[in-house]
């Protein structure tokens, strides 16, 4: 995880600005032969701990997202120290305003740039290898870190009230359009992902799914992300049934999104969960669960038929392109 630095957060929308400055990483990182953890515990509640990546050599980087006020193991510890030493390996851990020869552990004030490493096997906090300079990742290590963006929502008492993980996994046959610029994606179940590509006035969405059902579910997730942005939201409400039919598979994708938009506007909800239950070439049924948004970040008018395609991938699964009028 790479932390750019600290920023005063005085407005809710500044979180978006801060988040946008954190580098988006779009590659699946394989660090020294170990794959990225594909199923990190979902962290919406402050007390969950998230293991993002495993690194070689027994060093685990665990990002604990907690409310200092509420965590019984930590209380109000103040562990502030400075460490002088030789140049550290790049991208192991960096604190805010870190000089090349100085590292700082910052605990108990926000934004938290670094904390003690945790042994998530449950042995409790142990002397972190980093603080003692025992990490052995060489400076010249050519492997890149596994990048993900962790957006922390901080309340007035400097507690983390929510966390969101963002990272896009692209299939190996993904390509950016000329002049396109991937923005960000939302963590999705294995086998599904999406990216938003730039368009002068509209939004182009590129989707992947292990099968058609997951592709359509991913489309719903992407729509919710576009409409809500990074705003935290409450728990989804009761399920709503949806039924859509269309001329062909591609038109069905556009019709599915347009149905979600119709339901959003008439029921004043954004559909954050979707389960496509039956799918054949021209008909689907689904259940969706929504939240009442505080605000709509991007108003989507409709899914268009422009550049619309749904195709089977040679390597398995499906991919699709869809342009949204915003």
């Amino acid at each position: 995880m790479y932390v750019h630095g600290t920023h005063a957060v005085s407005e809710k929308d500044d979180l978006v600005t801060v988040g946008d400055r954190v580098a988006d990483a779009l590659e699946d990182a394989v660090v020294r032969g170990e794959p990225a953890d594909e199923h990190p515990p979902h962290a919406q509640r402050p007390k969950h701990r998230i293991q993002l990546r495993s690194l070689e050599g027994g060093i685990r980087v665990a990002i604990g997202v907690g409310s200092f006020r509420d965590d019984p193991h930590r209380g109000r510890q103040s562990q502030i120290g400075s460490k002088f030493g030789s140049l550290r390996a790049l991208d192991a851990m960096r604190g805010p305003r870190a000089a090349s020869r100085r590292e700082r552990t910052m605990v108990d004030r926000m934004p938290v740039a670094r904390r003690e490493n945790w042994n998530i096997a449950g042995r409790g906090p142990v002397d972190p290898a980093v603080e003692h300079g025992n990490h052995l990742v060489p400076v010249a290590d050519g492997e890149s870190a596994a990048w993900q963006k962790v957006l922390l929502h901080v309340d007035d008492e400097q507690s983390v009230s929510a966390a969101q993980i963002h990272g896009a996994r692209l299939e190996s046959n993904a390509r950016a359009r000329k002049g396109g610029n991937t923005v960000r994606g939302m963590a999705s179940p294995a086998g599904a992902s999406h990216v938003f590509e730039a368009h002068t006035a509209e939004v182009r969405l590129h989707l992947w799914g292990a099968d058609l059902a997951s592709l359509f579910e991913e489309a719903a997730r992407a729509l919710a992300e576009l409409m809500l942005g990074d705003d935290p939201h409450g728990l989804p409400g009761p399920p709503e049934p949806v039924s859509v039919d269309a001329l062909d598979r591609a038109a069905l994708l556009a019709a599915w999104i347009n149905e979600l938009l119709f339901l959003s506007e008439t029921k004043k909800q954004v559909w954050v969960e979707a389960r496509v239950t039956i799918l054949d070439g021209t008909h689907l049924t689904a259940t969706v669960r929504g939240v009442e948004p505080q605000a709509i970040r991007t108003a989507v008018k409709a899914a268009t038929l422009h550049d619309l395609r749904v195709e089977a991938c040679a390597s398995g699964g499906f991919e699709a392109t869809l342009v949204l009028d915003v």
Partner: protein, 475 residues
């Protein structure tokens, strides 16, 4: 992206011959200077205009305005005319936001009368619902909604008391298209629109408070009733979810109809049907109904602005409608002796002084054309010229036109920094989202002064006045 060779045929007029691609039925023209031509080449807008040139029944040429940019199907800033009734009508040539348009109000108040504009903008933000899906205070019964769809501003003014009869004369088509049929509008569209009358909406919709900064044509300005230093209000909004649903429904129906008839177009979003067909006629009457809804929407917003004016500036404060133009619409008009269906997608009508459709006060002057700049930049009032009929089927641009994607804009501009810069330059800003602010930043748009200059050089319209923003309300 295919490269096209444009041939200059006039000062700011370029043409691509119909032989450039085998499926073109007519040539393509763009109104642009050299820089705007290069900007058009930078995205797919030119290719999209070439696609438009394949529409069945298209006549003379497909034309791109100086603010043209890539859209979906039609480019934004595109104009095409098809023969009526045998030629096609394409919902994509109007867009999802049917009759998205602009209305300018003149208040008669000078800058000195106004003092600080902050209370006025604040009261506007409290009185006018903005944002996606937010309901307005006007709740319509099913019967009332059908009357709005069928009669537009006429119903809203005469039976709901939300305006004055003299307002109607200064609205394009008097804010009511006779071909509208409320029964052509689906129940789903009506569900979406029922609580949205009198709302601004989100995205690039806005309400801007301005001062007439410069008068370029004193006689035309006097005819339009605009004085230097006068406060004006410009609103930009459309048919909201109702219009979106009408277009969604119609594109879907026509897509199916085309598949059955075996018609193939280079872009599926150009789905069309003959105007005389069941599908074409149904869409046209639904589109007219949605257009009436949009005009009624702007009429209700006008009423709200008047209420706020009296609340803030006293009971004698008022707002007069200078004009109201649509920039996403299809109209049946004459091109020479032929009846045509003119599709304007991000383009406005720009009739000249001799047009009998103008308000009496504007005959001999020209139809007002509004070219809003981006947030924080100037907007322009122009009047159409008779020669616009030959250049672009009586059409002008609708704004500065986007130059950057929303993503690119947000990368270059920080929302809260832009907010501070606008406020530092004396512009009161009411926009809840810094992200939306960044997306609509001036850097995201083409140079409006250049666009207006090209429109004038093309003899489509002439400049009348330059408006400077002092307050902006965004959804």
């Amino acid at each position: 992206m295919q490269s096209f060779e444009l041939r200059r045929i006039d000062d700011v007029l370029w043409e691509l011959d119909r032989t450039a691609r085998a499926d073109m039925r007519v040539p393509v023209r763009i109104v642009a200077d050299e820089l705007l031509v290069e900007q058009a080449r930078a995205d797919r807008s030119l290719e999209q205009l070439v696609n438009v040139a394949t529409l069945p029944g298209i006549v003379r040429f497909a034309v791109g305005m100086p603010d043209m940019h890539e859209g979906y199907g039609f480019p934004v800033g595109g104009v095409a005319a098809t023969s009526a009734p045998g030629g096609s009508i394409s919902p994509g040539g109007i867009g999802f936001d049917i009759n998205c348009g602009v209305r300018l109000l003149a208040t008669g108040l000078s800058r000195a009368d106004v003092g600080s504009v902050e209370p006025f903008v604040h009261e506007l933000s409290r009185s006018i619902p903005t944002g996606y899906g937010r309901h307005g205070r006007l709740q319509l019964s099913e019967g009332e909604l059908d009357r709005v769809l069928g009669e537009g501003c006429t119903y809203v003014v005469r039976e709901k008391g939300l305006g004055r009869s003299e307002d109607l004369e200064y609205i394009e088509s008097r804010g009511s298209l006779a071909d509208a049929d409320a029964q052509s509008v689906s129940e789903r569209a009506k569900q979406r629109g029922r609580d949205q009358l009198g709302t601004l909406g989100g995205g690039n919709h806005f309400l801007e408070v301005q001062i007439v900064d410069t008068v370029e044509d004193a006689a035309a300005a006097a005819a339009l009733g605009l004085r230097e230093g006068e406060m004006t209000v410009l609103m930009h909004t459309g048919s909201r979810g109702l219009g979106h649903q009408v277009c969604t429904d119609s594109v879907r129906i026509m897509d199916v109809a085309m598949a059955k008839s075996g018609v193939v177009l280079p872009d599926r979003q150009l789905a069309c049907a003959p105007l005389s067909s069941r599908e074409g006629a149904a869409y046209f009457s639904a589109m007219c109904a949605a257009a009436n809804f949009a005009w009624a929407n702007r009429q209700v917003l006008t009423h709200r602005v008047r209420e706020v004016l009296t609340r803030v500036f006293g009971r004698h404060a008022d707002a007069r409608v200078v004009y109201d133009v649509a920039h996403n619409i299809a109209k049946l008009e004459h091109s020479g002796d032929d009846l045509v269906c003119v599709h304007r997608k991000g383009a406005t009508r720009a009739f000249g002084p001799s047009s009998p459709e103008l308000p009496v006060a504007y005959r001999g002057v020209g139809q007002p054309v509004f070219v809003p700049g981006s947030m924080g930049t100037a907007s322009f009032v122009m009047v159409g010229l008779d020669s616009s009929k030959d250049v672009a089927f009586g059409s002008a641009c609708h704004g500065a036109g986007r130059a950057l994607s929303r993503t690119a804009a947000k990368e270059r501009v920080t929302g809260h920094v832009l907010r501070r810069e606008l406020e530092a330059s004396g512009i009161v800003v009411r926009c809840p989202s810094n992200q939306e602010l960044a997306e609509e930043a001036p850097v995201a748009y083409k140079d409006v002064e250049r666009v207006v200059d090209v429109v004038a050089r093309a003899r489509i319209a002439k400049k009348v006045a330059r408006l400077k923003p002092i307050g902006v309300l965004k959804g």
